[in-house]
């Protein structure tokens, strides 16, 4: 059974509506109220009065300008033509990356004729996907240096 003090504390804390009290304590509170109605009803009435006053604290309705700004800033669906262009760009990007990879590979096959580092820098700047070849290029650069020192 809930104590009278706990009931009064809950009213002072959560207000005059038992439905807004912590769920786990509502049933016990209603049971106590049924037994101690004379003492506890005024407690609820006083708390409910403060609730009604609190309800008078002004809210604020969104105006049309705010709504308009938020609607215009919301994500929009990409038009189908834009999606098609995006797909084509991605495909071209992959082709460019593949081409750059071939160029790097061919360059690496030539003994120090074309500096591999120069090719790699240009490729990396144009197509970030080629950055993954940096380790290979570094190896190629080391090979080229060692070949040069052997000469």
């Amino acid at each position: 059974m809930m104590s009278l003090e706990r009931f009064e504390d809950l009213a002072e804390t959560y207000g005059g509506e038992i439905a807004r009290w912590p769920e786990a304590e509502r049933e016990a509170a209603r049971a106590l109220l049924a037994v101690e109605a004379v003492r506890l009803t005024p407690v609820l009435v006083a708390a409910a009065h403060l609730d009604r006053l609190l309800d008078r604290a002004p809210a604020q309705a969104p105006d049309s300008a705010l709504l308009g700004r938020l609607i215009s800033a919301a994500p929009t669906a990409a038009p189908s033509s834009r999606r098609w262009i995006a797909g084509l760009s991605a495909a071209l990007g992959l082709s460019a990356a593949a081409f750059a990879g071939v160029v790097v590979g061919v360059s690496m096959g030539r003994p120090a004729a074309a500096p591999p580092a120069a090719v790699t820098v240009a490729s990396a700047a144009e197509q970030p996907a080629v950055v993954t070849t940096a380790v290979d290029t570094s190896t190629a650069l080391q090979d080229a240096i060692s070949e040069h020192s052997e000469l």
């Binding site: 959560y14 912590p22 002004p58 709504l67 938020l70 919301a74």
Partner: protein
């Protein structure tokens, strides 16, 4: 804070992520008034409240495409963002020196018995604004926003016991400040 998997906004948010204007409008209709009211009651300033609500939803739009269902409820997330923005502004108010003294909040009894509706609202708003921010936040979250104690405590990153302490102290202070309004409301 994790949700119970029943986020009522999940479908609309997915629609927002796809760029569906109907979902955008429906989500704004459902949540913007709540967030605006929260900011208004926390800041007691209509212009700042609007700025906070706008910034909160602009951040929500950025999240919409990558929102992962099953985490925090969207409404809880909105509250967290809005409260953080409110606290940023409250902090700036304290830190910004002004030439003029801060406006004195009149929480005393009205000169005339019987207040008109607008006057009553102003009295209550002033009394709420005069509370320490954490007490005000607890009351706004639980009473005005209708959050449960566990959700409100989670948002405030405090225990339920600490929340109850803030609520009861805040309500006692309001009761004293508005004691002359026994016959109103």
């Amino acid at each position: 804070m994790s949700s119970d998997g029943n986020d009522p906004d999940e479908g609309l948010l997915a629609g927002v992520g796809r760029g569906d204007p109907t979902a955008v409008r429906a989500l704004l209709d459902r949540r913007l008034p709540r967030i605006l009211a929260l900011a208004r009651r926390m800041l007691n300033d209509p212009g700042e409240a609007e700025d906070v609500a706008q910034e909160t939803f602009l951040r929500a739009w950025k999240q919409a495409r990558s929102w992962k269902p099953g985490g925090a409820k969207f409404d809880t997330w909105l509250h967290r963002v809005a409260l953080n923005l409110c606290y940023d502004r409250l902090r700036k108010r304290r830190e910004t020196p002004t030439d003029q003294p801060p406006e004195q909040v009149d929480t005393g009894p009205a000169p005339d018995a019987g207040l008109l509706g607008a006057d009553l609202s102003r009295r209550v708003e002033s009394a709420l604004a005069a509370l320490p921010p954490r007490q005000r936040e607890a009351i706004v979250l639980c009473h005005h926003q209708g959050l449960g104690n566990i959700e409100a405590a989670g948002l405030m990153e405090i225990s339920v016991e600490a929340l109850e302490s803030l609520l009861s102290r805040g309500r006692r202070a309001l009761k004293a400040a508005l004691a002359d309004l026994a016959g109103e409301a």
